[in-house]
């Protein structure tokens, strides 16, 4: 509510609004400072509505937003000012939208919540963590979407891998037939194909991790610029690397096993003659 009123106020031309009293200090966010070319020490007039009388303030600080995903798409400007000044300016009276309360932590938080809610006159106490969960629902939706895309990608990769392994193993059917006729067991051949598949999977994963890391840097650089936020949009963590490598290895081995088993099931002479 207060932010909305202030928003209207800050859209005003500085020179056109008559001031009400001596200037106090205000902090504005870096987006507003950049877009309106405001620097520390500049004098502004802020009002609750366009054209209304306002207060003269001096910019004493420029703030940066925190890396909060729920605020990523919010493009409004922000300012921090003295509480009593804002209350007076917008005619809010002796009211606030919320209190933030710091406790000694642990059990004292639960106890504080209970006492406040028991004595509440039309307001309610929440844990900050619970509020964060509620306000980050947008981010959770995006997260679910990414996970779904990830699952589809993994399924697609498994199919591609199986297809490619099948092709590559099929290509060497005559070599496999010759080895079988020489006395090399089917088991040895399958093992050899799987070792090859594992090597390809490990090397491929290493390349993929490197590519993914580079892509993450590019993504973060790009979207931090677009949304003007310090939030990290893509993170390559050790856990993610481990999962990706493990998954590729499992998929690669499975694909190699299926392809090799399929080939060694065919009698060697048939493979050699090209009848299968």
């Amino acid at each position: 509510m207060l932010a909305a009123l202030l928003l209207a106020a800050l859209a005003q031309s500085i020179d056109s609004i008559p001031a009400r009293h001596a200037p106090r200090s205000i902090a504005i966010d870096e987006r507003l400072a950049a877009d309106a070319h405001i620097a520390i020490g500049d004098r502004l007039v802020i009002a609750p509505a366009p054209g209304a009388p306002g207060d003269s303030v001096i910019v004493t600080a420029i703030t940066r937003r925190s890396a909060d995903p729920s605020e990523v798409a919010r493009a409004e400007y922000r300012a921090v000012m003295h509480l009593d000044e804002l209350q007076s300016l917008v005619g809010y009276g002796d009211r606030v939208d919320r209190f933030a309360v710091a406790t000694r932590g642990g059990a004292s938080t639960d106890s504080a919540i209970r006492h406040i809610n028991d004595a509440a006159f039309g307001f309610q106490a929440f844990r900050s963590r619970d509020i964060a969960v509620e306000t980050s629902r947008t981010f959770l939706v995006v997260s679910r979407f990414h996970r779904a895309i990830g699952v589809i990608t993994i399924v697609a990769s498994a199919i591609f891998l199986l297809c490619i392994m099948l092709l590559k193993v099929d290509e060497r059917r005559r070599d496999v037939a010759a080895l079988r006729l020489m006395g090399i067991s089917a088991r040895s051949i399958v093992r050899s194909v799987m070792v090859e598949a594992a090597l390809v999977a490990v090397v491929g994963s290493a390349v993929g991790v490197a590519l993914g890391w580079v892509a993450a840097q590019v993504i973060n650089w790009h979207y931090r610029g677009v949304y003007r936020t310090p939030l990290a949009f893509a993170l390559v963590t050790p856990g993610i690397v481990l999962l990706a490598v493990a998954l590729s290895l499992v998929l690669g081995l499975a694909a190699g096993l299926l392809a090799a088993e399929r080939l060694v099931r065919v009698p060697a002479l048939e493979l050699l003659s090209g009848r299968r």
């Binding site: 509510m1 932010a3 909305a4 009123l5 928003l7 209207a8 800050l10 859209a11 509505a49 366009p50 054209g51 798409a73 493009a75 409004e76 509440a120 006159f121 039309g122 307001f123 629902r137 947008t138 939706v141 679910r144 979407f145 779904a148 895309i149 589809i152 399924v155 697609a156 199919i159 591609f160 199986l162 297809c163 490619i164 099948l166 092709l167 590559k168 099929d170 290509e171 005559r174 979207y223 677009v226 399929r262």
Partner: protein, 395 residues
């Protein structure tokens, strides 16, 4: 004959061909989904904004409609000024707020819209009728479910709560006259709509003669951009937004999805291309003897290339058709995830199917299929006949 040979070659290696088709299908599904995502949001938002014919919106200065709690003062003066602009055909003022409705000892809180029922563009009545008297209201399905109220019921409603006195303010008795579908509300939203003047009175001083938003319909054939300019000139203290401006703002905020769509679509196409090119390359390498013999018996090089390329195109085409079906299924699933964005109007779809999207994806895949097969087939068909036959004999 060549098409028959291509098809016969593909069916000779059934499992390999089926797997390749499956791979292409997944690729195609992803490509189609991304094509749908890149335009779906935009198209469905545009359709929603224009669904009732209101091309322009006025919001508090520096904001988008309902982006903040701010309101526009002197609403009646704004209407008076708007009526002086000749191409303005209809004006629908809207005030947002909350309504606390007490039913059977429980209090249900709903989002309330104060509107002028005769010109409003925020809801469609699905049962009953629109309010025609100051003390009437319509409600959404979710509100009716939560409250247990039925059409014809009298409800005790309030717009505020005084924490000191622990009592509701702005009380009024209202009659429920209709069930409505609220166009711009999220699904599962408890919403009500009542006459603007009633809501302004209930909210008292802070809301007197104020509106959150004005929706404006231009006369048929009028230049909407020109009407927008004239409104901006006449009312500099509000922000006038055309559908296009709103689209641009939304585009900018949701550019992430368009860019994601482009990147994933490109990757899908590239992977499908790689799959087919690998398949064709292996296929060519396996039958070099057959290929050069075709040349030896007099089949022209470009016809040999055509036959091999047809194999790649056949896989791409069949895979693309399967992918189309798969893509529609996965799009529904992905849309259901994104549709749960808090505050998103239920009418917005992120994945909107337009036949031209399917044709576009199919076209891209066909071209990719052709390109994927061209190099390996040309290479195979250009091998020296005698040398290759000799090597094949030795090998």
């Amino acid at each position: 004959m060549l098409f028959h040979l291509a098809w016969a070659t593909l069916t000779r290696h059934r499992s390999r061909t089926l797997l390749a088709i499956l791979g292409v299908a997944v690729s195609a599904a992803m490509l189609l989904d991304m094509v749908m995502l890149s335009s779906g949001m935009r198209v469905s938002l545009r359709n929603l904004l224009l669904s009732r014919g209101f091309q322009l919106r006025l919001a508090p200065k520096g904001t988008l409609p309902f982006d903040t709690d701010a309101t526009i003062p002197n609403a009646s003066n704004v209407i008076r000024v708007l009526r002086t602009i000749s191409d303005v055909a209809a004006i629908s003022p809207v005030l947002g707020g909350q309504l606390h409705v007490t039913v059977a000892g429980r209090t249900i809180t709903a989002t309330a819209l104060g509107v002028v029922p005769a010109v409003q563009g925020d809801y469609e009545v699905t049962q009953g009728r629109t309010p025609s008297a100051p003390n009437e209201l319509v409600a959404s399905d979710d509100f009716l479910r939560a409250s247990g109220a039925m059409i014809g019921d009298t409800l005790s409603a309030a717009t505020g709560y005084d924490p000191q006195l622990r009592s509701f303010t702005g009380r009024r008795t209202l009659v429920l006259v209709g069930r409505a579908h609220f166009l711009y509300m999220p699904a599962e939203m408890r919403a009500v709509a009542l006459p603007l003047a009633t809501l302004q009175e209930m909210r008292g001083g802070e809301a007197r003669d104020r509106a959150s938003l004005f929706m404006i319909r231009a006369r048929a054939g009028a230049d909407v951009a020109d009407v927008l300019r004239r409104i901006q000139a006449a009312l500099p203290s509000v922000t006038a937004v055309s559908t296009e401006t709103a689209m641009r703002q939304v585009d900018q905020r949701l550019s992430y999805f368009r860019q994601l769509a482009f990147i994933l679509g490109a990757v899908s196409l590239a992977v499908g291309f790689l799959l087919v090119t690998t398949l064709v390359t292996v296929s060519v390498n396996e039958r070099l003897g057959e290929i050069v013999v075709m040349r030896a018996i007099g089949v022209a090089r470009n016809r040999v290339v055509l036959q091999i390329v047809m194999e790649g195109v056949a896989i791409m085409f069949v895979g693309a058709l399967a992918g189309l079906a798969l893509g529609l299924v996965t799009a529904r699933y992905l849309n259901s995830i994104l549709a749960s964005f808090p505050g998103l109007p239920a009418a917005i779809d992120f994945f909107l199917f337009e036949p031209r999207d399917a044709w576009g994806a199919l076209g891209l895949l066909t071209v990719a299929g052709i390109l994927a097969g061209i190099y390996p087939s040309w290479r195979g068909a250009s091998l020296p006949i005698a040398v290759t036959l000799r090597e094949e004999a030795v090998g």
